[in-house]
Amino acid sequence: MSDADAAQAPGFDWSWRWFLEGVRQALTGPAFYVSISLMGVGSLARAAGFPVGAAVLSTILVWAGPGQLLFFGAVIAKTAPPAIALAVSLSSVRLLPMCLSVLPMLREKRTPLPVLFAAAHFIAVTVWAESLRRLPDIERPVRLPFFFGLATTCLTLTSFSTALGYWLMGSLPPPLGAGMMMLSPIYFLATTARSARSGADWLAMLFGAVLAPVMVTFVGGGFDLLALALVGGGGAWFAGYLARRTS
């Protein structure tokens, strides 16, 4: 799909070797973590009365766990469609800073716009965290093929696991079901900690851990994450800014 488009785009280097390196690194862990942790989306889609094709399509098109869970959860709760759209959109605001912190690492002066749109589509928590961790060690010209190899592998495997979850979830014993749902929180935290490169990164994680329960309790209504992002993210950045100034 997008990798084929990218290969034909003018003024754009393509290296299958680095694409395959991205595939390989995805298969060392990330693709499995994200695919297992999103199996729950399949089961929720089934509970919402959607066909298995729509469950898989939600992974391919939305490609953001919280947004998908919200969408099917809201359908189950018989929420009005405009309210569903608003809730999904609010939960996906975080894709904006995620894309903004990866795209400048991928982009070169002559990278065609459609390639950047295609790249942005694949950015969600997993691909974002793995990109932050792995891209800085890779030469800029081959970052895009590497990125697409990593991202398409994660998405493809997760599409299959969404279908698997659609058929399987209800029949899993409770300890395994709970373990499956706990996989993404642990993986998200560990891989973000793995990609931490400065004191500001660690501070951002600490601020998030301390402030998130407060915001969830007192802000709520879908705006808690937004408030958390501005207060915690702003604070962590400012502390890092001061540290860079004085050093």
């Binding site: 996906s92 894309c99 642990i186 998030g208 950045w237």
Partner: protein, 117 residues
């Protein structure tokens, strides 16, 4: 979803595109437009990186504090304990993501097992 009752086989797909895909994809599209003006070493880039990191931790806290039906079978101490043990495994193994997952998962699975008697 009465708007879609005309064709019931297509309705779920249309609903997904209109109320799931477009509302979230809009942020990615916006990022592409804005990212053209952001330099990898600028303060704005570092700020955005901090925001994204805090958001991720926020999403994790929400999953753990407001659990789904499947995760709610694990009591809150097991969920919090799983994160703590995962962190211990992570740092004990010089930042191994895999070790963190094995350690944390063991806590969740075993505690749910134990709670069920």
């Amino acid at each position: 979803m009465s708007v879609f009752s005309a064709d019931p086989t297509l309705a779920p797909y249309l609903a997904l595109i209109l109320f799931g895909f477009l509302p979230s994809e809009i942020w990615r599209g916006l990022a592409v437009v804005v990212a053209r003006r952001i330099d990898e070493n600028s303060e704005l880039f570092l700020f955005v990186r901090s925001v994204a990191t805090v958001l991720l931790v926020g999403v994790v806290v929400k999953i753990v504090l407001l659990p789904s039906r499947e995760l709610a079978v694990a009591p809150v101490w097991a969920r919090g304990g799983a994160l703590a043990v995962a962190a211990a495994g992570f740092f004990a193994t010089r930042r191994s993501v895999f070790a963190a997952i094995v350690a944390g998962e063991a806590v969740v699975i075993l505690s749910v097992w134990w709670c069920m008697g």
